[in-house]
């Protein structure tokens, strides 16, 4: 054993000296290797700078957020525009349905005029509400959170006014979307809400037995119409559906999973149901292509021109998709998935003229394109200290 002449003195005592330590050197880790020799120097420099002094400092981040909020507003200043009084006096001719049910229109007008402010309690509440969309959204989220932590209470909150606040978060939502985990977790949260609310509404309807709680119970064939007055509930999205939507399948369809099609030109993809054979025998949701096939082409039999069409989803999958309940407002908002976030560098623009922002201002980090714009920027850079 080559110990370079160092003789180890046996000792039970270990002492951690501050500042340095022996560590085993197991060769270069990929990360270390990349740090030593970056593939792309420019990019490495940029990334490194991000570690030390983040490109988006907290202040710039706050600025972006503020700017976006401003862009989202309807108007620059809050416009308080009152509803103008009606000229002529006769208003809200049909404001109360109680009066309009008379067929006599002459009487109708006068009585409606008297009853101008007679709204039903629900309507009055809605009209007087000054809530904004953000308020409604927060309410909804608060309700979801409440349902998650305390289903009983949430059910009670919902209970006293069955027709006003109503439990109309539409149907159970145990749908699992393959693309994001967030969506499915939020969906299960919503399922909890519906379950809670279903409990509240149990006495309201005898048919509540039809309401599945959250058991994944694939229904063979959902009731096909709503004539019976009850809503049709949805089984979970089948596993096949989610599996087929797996991102790894973004690659062109592989021959082993696809049914080769050799009866038409390369444009077969355009006519959506390509060939009856590619359907499951009971494919009834999307009927087979029954119209005359395209004009034969000499290249039809050419093996090089064969289109490969991915297997068509089964009726089960389609049924699950078509009867799935709507996502909630937040779930439907498109977001970058984790691996996509930051896949492409964010483009930066000159804050003065809008060309590429190649240069950063030393003081505030704002991007500008060249000297001329930098000078223009500097004039106001000092002023903007308090931003």
């Amino acid at each position: 054993m080559n110990n370079f002449g160092v003789i180890e003195v046996a000792s039970q005592k270990t002492k951690n000296a501050p500042g340095w330590a022996y560590v085993p050197d197991t060769g270069l880790t990929p990360a270390a290797a990349a740090a030593l020799q970056p593939l792309n120097r420019k990019r490495a420099a940029r990334d490194k700078a991000n570690v030390g002094a983040p490109d988006l400092t907290a202040r710039q981040d706050a600025k972006i957020r503020k700017d976006l909020e401003a862009l989202d507003k309807d108007s620059h200043r809050d416009a308080q525009i009152p509803i103008p009084p009606k000229a002529g006096g006769s208003r809200g001719a049909l404001s109360s349905k109680l009066y309009t049910q008379k067929r006599d229109h002459g009487a109708d007008m006068t009585s409606a005029w008297i009853a101008q402010n007679k709204h039903t309690p629900n309507v009055r509440k809605i009209l007087q509400s000054q809530k904004t969309f953000a308020n409604h959204l927060d309410d909804y989220h608060a309700f979801l959170a409440l349902a998650e932590s305390n289903p009983q209470l949430a059910a009670q909150v919902n209970k006293p006014t069955p027709t006003t606040t109503a439990r109309n978060s539409p149907a159970p939502s145990t749908i699992t979307t393959a693309s994001t985990n967030k969506r499915s977790s939020a969906a299960s949260k919503r399922a909890a809400v519906t379950a809670a609310a279903a409990a509240a509404a149990k006495e309201e309807k005898a048919g509540s037995s039809k309401r599945p709680k959250t058991q994944p119970q694939p229904k063979p064939a959902p009731a096909d119409d709503d004539d019976d007055g009850d809503v049709e509930m949805t089984p979970e999205t089948t596993e096949e559906a989610t599996a087929a939507a797996d991102p790894s399948e973004l690659l062109p369809p592989r021959p082993d999973t696809s049914t080769p099609l050799d009866d038409s030109t390369t444009e077969t993809t355009e006519t959506e149901p390509p060939k009856p054979q590619s359907y499951p025998p009971d494919g009834t949701i999307l009927p087979a292509y029954a119209r005359p096939p395209p004009v034969p082409h000499p290249g039809d039999d050419d093996p090089l021109l064969v289109s490969r069409v991915p297997p068509f989803p089964t009726d089960e999958e389609l049924r699950a998709l078509m009867t799935a309940p709507p996502l909630s407002y937040t779930e439907a908002r498109a977001q970058w998935t984790e691996e996509e976030e930051g896949r492409y560098p964010v483009r930066r623009f000159c804050e003065v003229c809008g060309y590429w922002g190649r240069v950063k201002c030393i003081k505030c980090g704002a991007r500008v394109c060249a000297l001329e714009c930098l000078e223009a920027h500097r004039e106001e850079c000092l002023v903007r200290y308090g931003l």
Partner: protein
Amino acid sequence: MAGGGGGARKSRAAGPVPLTTTLVLDNGADTIKAGFVSDDKSDDKPRIIPNCLARDRHRKIYVGSELEKCKDFSEMAFRRPVEKGFIVNWEAQKEIWDREFFDDKAPNKCNPSETRLILTEQPNSLPSLQTHCDQIVFEEYGFASYYRGVGPVFNAYRDIQSISRTPQVSIDSPAEVILLIDTGYSHTTVTPILQGRPLHPAIRRLDVGGKLMTNYLTRLLSVRHFDMRNEPYIVNEMKEAVCYTSLDFKGDMEKTWKGTRGEKREDYVGGAGIAKDYVLPDSHTRFHGVVRDYEPGVSARARKTIVSTEDVLTLRNERFVVPELLFNPSDIGIRQPGIADLVKQSLLALPIGLWPGLLANIVVVGGNSLSEGFCQRLQTEILKRFPDECRVRVARPEDPITSTWLGAANFAKHEHASRLEVTKQEYEEHGAAWVARKFAAGLGLDS
């Protein structure tokens, strides 16, 4: 409108006959599209009503279609009942509806107790807002029957194949398979539709719409030219007139760069076909802005003499940077994928076997799609994100703004409408929650 008035009068004369008149209402954030459909006589196109209360600089207030009477749009302020695509402020919305449909002198007068209402809403609404809507429709107006449906889905009832110019023998109604992109005032949504049923798990939304783009243009102009922050109407007019979707963003960007200090770049001086002059309205002789070709020959001094009479803005990269937000929202720091990735995310939630059909039948509606080059750019961007073998077609109807209404008008005549509608009696019997559930469940499966 004449057709509507006629229909209403007719049914009134006939007494309680089965409903023949339907009020089709596409209640957008910017404009309401409204018209009547009945068996014998229907409006073939909707009336477009601004959905706002507006106040001009003399503090006169205009409600809805009264805005047509307004001439001077400077310093116009707006109050809109629809927020993020959903009706939030019913006080204002009711006022506008009353004046347009229910008052004695309303232009589209109708008697709700004898009319069916078909109302569009944006996908993924909040339950509380949906309930409010149902309650107002039945308890306040007392419509005889009513259906509230997801707006984009109604487009399936149009003749989609003729929009994409496919020769065909018969017309499917509803269309078999569509991927509908609706890019409106509040946001942009992607909705895959199969046989007239939306595939809810795959609906995605991008929070970039016409409003955000107008505000962004306002900001750019305020930094570079004049303070336009109190002129939303004028800026919006300008946006509609000059903005286009760039097919070569980098190239256009180079062409509009002024260059480093002292440099005179030919493209910049000559305008490169991109620079345009926009003459602002002066509120005396001209009430609408005018687009002019950029004149490189006019020297700075000559311009100065003109400036005394008119305000001219030279627009360069502002023209294409604004619609670019739909494709790259990250340009202004919005952490969301662009419209092409939106399509991709939506399709990832679906079985791969549906992709070819959806990609070959992409239909774009909504006002933003009117920007020049939008469809072409969208098609190339989507093409890049999918396997080569998928054929991608992006089609835009001639009338992208009223397309949803036209679809809904066809829907009103379709048997699906009678299956989906809820009568007032049913509402009174079962309550708002039941109605909401019925609408959410939609058509069910049989076809």
